[in-house]
């Protein structure tokens, strides 16, 4: 699997549309490997698609047995703004929270289901002085599964989205194809669609390196500036490892004195 990941990353990038202006791109579908109360995961990584790239961060905490909260932040950009008014560029971001449940099965598998809400915005400059700035909200339901061994792990999840573009400021001077794409997005919003995410990683507790591919399944959206896929690499820390270790090392008499 590990040998195939670079190939999969390349395929994902090639699958992406050639369009250089995007109005949506899938962030990574987080599939935390949760086993017990107080399990805590945090990850940060690089993510990109065709002609855009950025970073994302995620954190997950289990406050109760079988229950967890999830936080995601995703931020990408296409080219960089500069003083040249003819420069095309764009950027987008998304921040979301989710509540969910998990069920550890055997010693090395965890099933999860998260429901979440978030919002973000996507800005594009078209190189002719025209810009667009769209704001959206996303509600999602995401079942997932993670299998983790001593040195490697694999996960898969699907995300059912309700994506609503709540507002936008759009310059009429932008290229007609882009204007049509935005009008189409406005007309069909809220948009229901699903995404599929795969993760494969290696490492050992408490640090894992993960490779991710996220695919947007709704083909009809691809011509409206929806990126077909993203791919990323991230590093994840099992933070509970540190405080559990601290707790384990605490002198016994400290309990006795309480």
């Amino acid at each position: 699997m590990r040998q195939n990941l670079p190939l999969l990353l390349c395929i994902a990038l090639c699958l992406s549309s050639a369009c250089s202006h995007y109005y949506y791109a899938p962030n990574s579908l987080q599939t935390p490997y949760l086993q017990q109360k107080h399990d805590t995961r945090a990850s940060i990584g690089f993510i990109g698609g065709n002609e855009f790239s950025g970073w994302e961060a995620s954190a997950c905490f289990s406050p109760v047995k079988y229950g967890a909260v999830l936080f995601n932040h995703f931020q990408v950009q296409h080219a960089k703004p500069d003083d040249n008014p003819e420069r095309k560029y764009g950027n987008g971001r998304l921040t979301e929270f989710a509540l969910g449940a998990y069920n550890p099965i055997k010693k090395n598998m965890s099933l999860s289901l998260f429901a979440g809400w978030g919002g973000g915005q996507v800005f594009n400059a078209y190189g002719n002085g025209g810009v667009s700035n769209l704001r959206f909200e996303r509600i999602f339901l995401q079942p997932g599964m993670m299998i983790q061994g001593k040195r490697a792990r694999f996960g898969v999840a699907t995300r059912f989205n309700r994506l609503n573009y709540v507002s936008g400021e759009v310059d009429l001077g932008i290229p007609p194809t882009e204007l049509n794409a935005i009008r189409s997005i406005e007309n069909v919003s809220p948009i229901y669609f699903s995404e599929l995410g795969f993760v494969g990683g290696f490492g050992a507790a408490p640090v894992w390196v993960d490779f991710r591919i996220n695919l947007n399944n709704k083909e009809s959206l691809h011509s409206s500036g929806f990126a077909t896929s993203t791919a990323g690499i991230s590093i994840q820390f099992e933070l509970d490892y540190f405080w559990r270790k601290t707790e384990a090392n605490r002198p016994m008499n400290s309990f006795n004195t309480e």
Binding site: W117, G129, V166, G168, D171, G173, L179, P190
Partner: protein, 392 residues
């Protein structure tokens, strides 16, 4: 249990939110809302620039003619400048005062009125007498095949031309500084300059460039003649098919077309593309009254030679000739029929040997020729909102 309830509550809220179709609030704009509000106080401009690009019909394309790309933002700014009377010394004259849209951007006076009651010394040239301003004028791009500006061909570009008119004491009477000051004091120019040039800095060069861009967007190629020529010739303009009857023409118009092709087209262009000659003396006077091109070049053989215009919209652009001496088309035809004078620089096309040609048109010929000339009128140009006065 309480936590489970909270989780259920969260999920329920999400489902409810998903069930609601929330209205989206999309605002489409070209100008910043504050800018457009400011512009709308003074101007009737659409919420985005008009498309000023000309797409010529096939018979003109096949002559190798093509309109230059037009910057719509600059053209929009130029349109406002073109109609702005603040660009004259006494605030009474704009470019449009002497180039009226309903008259194919010409004036119905022999010579136009300028500032302080002064008058110009030549008839206002019709900006709409050409297939496309940008495909026709300008020796800067087209070299010798591009038509220079003014009756005496003294300017090479539209920017040079409009600057000369703005600074002519008999026309608009401005200095370069006056032009910049007049523009800077009008609040509506700030956003227009920003859109056109990326900054609100006003310079005389930018003013001239914007006006040039607007007039470069003017095109007249939707006359009855054009629709018939496109139908009959298409791209086949070297076939002499223009001599065949046009099916949409009346008998008089078709006869007039042949008279035109035989007697006028060798200077004015068979298909109203670019003129066949850039300058000519057409025998208005036997002696030089106005030096014309000769006044610019100081060449004896240029004396009393003037620009040869194409005749699009000629029905609308009287009075005729550089001095506006003929009030009607009939008078013009009569001049070529019987009135050509033997000026030393008389164009060879108007001579038999050393004597001026007398075309001696019959009454029917004259009437047919005028009927044909009226097929060159482009009614759409007269009311095209892209060229209309934007001021409230």
């Amino acid at each position: 249990m309480k936590k489970l309830h909270l989780a259920c509550l969260f999920l329920g809220t999400l489902i409810l939110a998903a069930a609601c179709k929330r209205d989206t609030d999309f605002n489409y704009y070209y100008y910043e809302p504050a800018d457009f509000a400011l512009l709308s106080q003074y101007l009737n401009l659409p919420d985005r620039p008009e498309n000023y690009q000309s797409t010529l019909p096939k018979h003109l394309q096949s002559l190798g003619l093509a309109a230059r790309p037009v910057d719509y933002d600059k053209a929009t700014l130029g349109r406002v400048l073109f109609y702005d009377k603040n660009l004259s010394k006494d605030g009474t004259i704009s470019c449009a005062s002497c180039h009226k849209q309903e008259l194919a951007f010409s004036d119905d006076k022999k010579v136009s009125a300028g500032v302080f009651g002064l008058t110009g010394d030549r008839n206002s040239i019709a900006l709409g007498s050409v297939l496309s301003f940008s495909a026709y004028y300008g020796t800067d791009l087209f070299g010798p095949s591009g038509v220079p500006f003014f009756w005496d061909n003294r300017a090479n570009t539209a920017a040079e031309q409009n600057l000369a008119s703005m600074t002519n004491p008999n026309e608009m009477g401005m200095s370069h500084t006056d032009i910049v000051n007049a523009v800077q004091t009008q609040p509506y120019y700030e956003p227009l300059f920003r859109m056109a040039f990326g900054s609100n800095q006003v310079t005389q060069a930018r003013v001239s460039e914007a006006i040039a861009e607007f007039v470069n967007g003017i095109g007249s190629y939707k006359s009855k003649f054009d629709s018939e020529a496109e139908k009959t010739l298409g791209y086949n303009t070297y076939s002499n098919l223009e001599r065949n009857n046009f099916s949409g023409f009346s008998a008089a118009e078709n006869r007039g077309k042949l008279i035109y092709l035989d007697n006028c087209a060798s200077c004015h262009s068979p298909l109203q593309g670019r003129p066949e000659k850039m300058k000519a003396n057409n025998g208005l006077d036997a002696a030089t009254v106005d030096a014309g091109v000769g006044g610019v070049t100081n060449q004896a053989n240029d004396m009393a030679q003037f620009k040869v215009p194409t005749l699009r919209n000629i029905e609308l652009t009287g009075p005729y000739m550089h001095d506006g001496r003929f009030a009607t088309l009939e008078e013009v035809v009569e001049h070529y029929s019987t009135g050509i004078q033997n000026h030393p620089n008389l164009s060879p096309e108007l001579k038999y040997g050393y004597q001026p040609k007398k075309l001696n048109f019959s009454a029917q010929d004259k009437s047919d020729l005028v009927a044909f000339l009226k097929t060159l009128t482009d009614q759409e140009l007269r009311t095209d909102k892209r060229y209309a006065n934007p001021f409230k």
